[in-house]
Amino acid sequence: MAIRPDQEIPKLSKELCNKLLLDLEKAKRPVLYATKCSLDNALYNHKVGYLTPGPKKVATELNVSSVKKMSRAIFMLEIILRNIDSGGVNTKRELYYMSKGEIKHNSILKPLDFGDQDESDGTIDFICELLECYREDLNCYANDRGGQTYSQQLVVTETLPDGDTAVIDLGKLGTTPFQPKNRPQNLKLKAKEKIDFCLIVESEGTANTLVANGFTKRHPSILMGAQGVPSNAVRGWCKLIQDQLNIPLYFFGDLDAYTMQNIFRTLKAGSAASLIRNSDYSAPDVRFLGVLPEDIKKYDLLDYPVKENDAQEVRALKKAQDALKNDPFFQDKRNKGLTEILNWLLKNKRRCEQQAFFTVNPRDPQMPEKIIMEKIKAGKFV
């Protein structure tokens, strides 16, 4: 995991500020370049496995219009550097309040005042772009969301900031899940016994149900709930499982355009917005277990048409159309199976939820588990 060591950010920051200062001394207009994080600058190579940044850069020139933005960035950078120096960790909201506090006590800084948190969040993101780093590199962490993990075989060793280590045997947690943190580089994974696979379930609730019904007891596996669009923690955690345990990863979620593009694609190959982070936050080996279009017929699953008046679903279909034309991930021949699913969704305008497996035999609580295992064994995934 390539999170930068604590001393690297202060060094990079100093270099950046020094460059700015040198240009200013010469009355030369400083221009700062950042990687353009958008789909038109995304490249995909199946050998790499995730979306990588192209050559396009966004230039930020210091002029009258950008001087406020730049001043705010330097002001926030100072707060962050102080944090790194002292080992302090904060959320974006906490940083917003810290900046307010600084301004409150120094009237000269009044023009920098943030109107709301969106403004200070934008400034933090701008610093990340300038330094080409993650917010976690700046000791600015998001609230952990998703990634509750269950396993009878997995043991996690965490190195704490003070150097101590904590060993968590997931098999001893009962029905309590282990939740990965945003700094996966501090975690070491070990399998007590052989682990066959890792199953990532889109719905956290369904993941809980599977565990409660004994999935992890019957199958040596890791079961994880993604809780919708995967957070950085979930993405990093999947990458860690893939790299350290070398086991197959399967994703089980709804059959719809949103899941395919926003959840599965992000998990497998990262996103266009996080081009510079995809190398550390994507698990290219993860496979799409379903629901597959063929499952609907095979298991007689309950599906339903995409509602014309549902703005989110209609938008997702439109986005799917764009993705087929512009997204290098879906354009790659190796991902033909996924592209075919998108085409099927666009053509049939139907969707099927993961919970539809519960319709197959409502009286058998293990039915979804049986179907999942049947699919894994038969290699019915994409």
Binding site: S13, K14, C17, D23, L24, A27, L62, V67, K68, L81
Partner: protein, 633 residues
């Protein structure tokens, strides 16, 4: 229709002799009566039919006796609501409006620069319920009225020197002022008090004019010759029942504001309740050149009008009548008519010898011949320059744009549209309120029935948001603006006789819309310029505020020396200064040209209209558009 046909049949059955009644009206009346009688006789139809045969002549003669002819005055006296006297408030406004219109028309026609003084005051309780007795007096410096014409002007309906003559004037039919006299007579038992003096008269004539409602004639009372302290002019005074409303769209102040706006050559002294004597000086010394009346265009007429028009010419040849009596008819048109099947001999025939069939044939053929569009020479516009000067009289205005469109043909009638958009300085006051709309038809403010008016429909159809003015969907724009739209035409299509609304034909709405769009574009240019100035101010403020903060921050992070800090500060100021310099120069340039323009305006008042939105370019454009108009002629 079915009922009428049935009644006709019944009447024929019941009274076959009645059909020989010579009068068409009588015939129709007897039919109606027959129809009324028929339901009663439904029970025993045969017997009644026999009775009807014997009673019919008696009934027919009774029916014809009950038909009476009323005078025009009698009609209007019973229907004053049709001519603007439908409410107490309207009565005051209409009376004042008619008197002022007449004063202005008279002055312009005789080449006088109008100076009008008005008095409106409450003098007691009115005779009608919930009304006041209001005295309205209008005094002008016009040519005066010949004593013989006074009863016609103030006491006779449809006695007008302006009716259908094809010229732009405020008054058209000769109804308004006589209606005011009638209202005064009906509510206060006394007519209009008139004092008038022409330059030729040694003394002024003072009299009371009343309408002889039975005979539609003006009657003079208390006539006497008096000494008057002026060379010429007319004073007319009405005491009527009504209610004075000063503010609001239908208020007197709005009316006077509008009147002064579209009459830049008018000096107006007003004496309104609680406001004392107020004077609005004229802003131009030029009396509008009254265009000559234009002969009617054959395509704008109906057959009846066509025949009636021939009666004005008497014993002239048809060809000569067509050429003389109509616009856009020439020798070529006559040849076309012959080609279309009119006998050449008919054109040589005397007009008064033509029969109805010949008239109809000639009329039909001429309708199918291509003629040039009617002339636009007859429209009388205010002009961009004059409007630009006048708009400043509206109050503290910080920006205006005026647009005068080239005269054009709408619905086969020459029309010219002028638009003035002004922004009030006191902006915060009316930010969310709709803009103030001033509508004018032939330079008369229109104050009622806004929604149906062509002007308002055109206004709401324009997307004002594109020009930086907020506007709810399909509604009037909002903000501290006054939008004045003036439509001038010798033949304005009003929706009613009280001239409150201009009929919204598609062509006219489109023409007004175009003028508004032009004004909107000029306005948006100005707003953008303002934004630029604001932007520059913000840029300058940014340099002052952020330069030290940015450099301080950079120096703290890099632990730079004081010397580096100083150099960086200087460099940054230099750098950002470059950005603002261009904008600063632009702004300074704009200021200089504005000052130059103001100086030129002070030195030569005729240039005044070229300021800001109207611009010198527009004046030139106007000139060129005039040239184009002449060329089109």
């Amino acid at each position: 229709m079915v009922k009428k046909a049935d009644s006709k049949a019944a009447a024929k059955k019941a009274a076959p002799k009645a059909s020989s009644t010579p009068s068409a009206k009588g015939g129709a009346a007897s039919e109606t009566k027959g129809a009324k009688a028929s339901p009663k006789s439904a029970g025993s139809a045969a017997k009644k039919t026999a009775d009807a045969d014997t009673d019919a002549p008696v009934r027919a003669s009774k029916a014809s006796k009950s038909i009476t002819t009323s005078s025009t005055a009698e009609y209007f006296s019973k229907n004053l609501q049709q001519v603007g006297f439908s409410s107490q408030v309207k009565a005051v406004l209409t009376t004042l409006k008619e008197a002022v219109d007449n004063a202005l028309d008279a002055c312009e026609e005789h080449g006088f620069l109008p100076e009008v003084e008005i008095w409106v005051e409450k003098i007691g309780a009115g005779s009608l319920k919930n009304s006041d007795q209001v005295r309205i007096r209008v005094l002008d410096n016009g040519p005066g009225i010949d004593p013989d014409d006074v009863p016609k002007v103030f006491g006779e309906y449809l006695a007008s020197s302006k009716f259908g003559r094809g010229r732009c004037s405020r008054g058209q039919q000769g109804i308004g002022i006589s209606a005011a006299t009638t209202w005064a007579q009906l509510t206060n038992a006394t007519g209009a008090r008139v004092i008038t003096k022409t330059p030729k008269m040694r003394k002024a004539m003072s009299c009371t004019v009343e309408v002889d409602i039975k005979h539609n004639k003006g009657v003079l009372k208390d006539r006497e010759m008096i000494e008057w302290d002026r060379e010429n002019g007319t004073s007319v005074e009405f005491v009527i029942d009504g209610r004075i409303q000063l503010n609001g769209e239908a208020g007197l102040i709005n009316y006077l504001t509008g009147t002064t706006l579209v009459n830049p050559h008018l000096t107006l002294h007003s004496n309104l309740p609680d406001l004392g004597r107020q004077t609005v000086e004229r802003v131009t010394q030029e009396i509008p050149a009254i265009p000559e009346a234009v002969e009617p265009h054959p395509h704008t007429m109906k057959l009846g009008e066509f025949i009636a028009h021939s009666h004005l010419f008497g014993r002239v040849k048809v060809g000569a009548w067509l050429k003389k009596g109509f616009s856009r008819v020439n020798e070529g048109t006559l040849k076309d008519l012959v080609k279309a099947g009119i006998k050449a001999s008919l054109l040589e025939k005397s007009v008064d010898g033509m029969n109805e069939v010949e008239f109809k044939d000639l009329f039909t053929k001429i309708q199918n011949i291509q003629l040039m569009a009617p002339s636009t020479k007859s429209v009388l516009s205010i002009g961009e320059e004059a409007l630009a000067k006048s708009i400043k009289r509206l109050g503290a205005v910080d920006f205006f744009a005026v647009v005068t469109r080239k005269p054009t043909i709408c619905d086969f009638k020459p029309v010219e549209v002028e638009v003035a958009v002004a922004r009030l300085e006191d902006r915060a006051m009316e930010a969310d309120a709709p803009v103030q709309v001033l509508r004018f038809a032939n330079r008369v403010p229109l104050q009622f029935d806004k929604a149906a008016c062509a002007i308002v429909q055109a206004l709401t159809s324009v997307n004002w948001r594109a020009y930086g003015i907020s506007q709810p969907k399909e509604a009037l724009p909002q903000g501290p603006y006054i939008i004045a739209v003036s439509v001038v035409s010798p033949f304005i299509k009003f929706k009613n006789a009280s001239k409150e609304t201009v009929d919204a034909s598609d062509e006219l709405v489109e023409e007004i819309r175009r003028a508004l769009i032009q004004a909107g574009q000029r306005l948006s240019k100005h707003i953008r310029k303002e934004d630029k100035a604001n932007d520059l101010e913000e840029k300058l403020r940014h340099i002052e505020q952020f330069c030290p903060i940015l450099v301080d921050g950079l120096c703290r992070i890099t632990e730079a020396s004081e010397a580096r800090k100083k150099r960086a500060e200087d460099g940054l100021v230099k750098l950002l200064g470059r950005d603002t310099r261009v904008a600063e120069q632009e702004l300074a340039h704009a200021h200089v040209s504005l000052e130059k323009m103001t100086a030129a305006e002070n030195a030569d008042p005729s240039l005044a209209g070229t300021k800001k939105g109207s611009g010198k370019k527009n004046a030139e454009k106007k000139k060129s558009s005039k040239k184009e108009a002449v060329a089109a002629e």
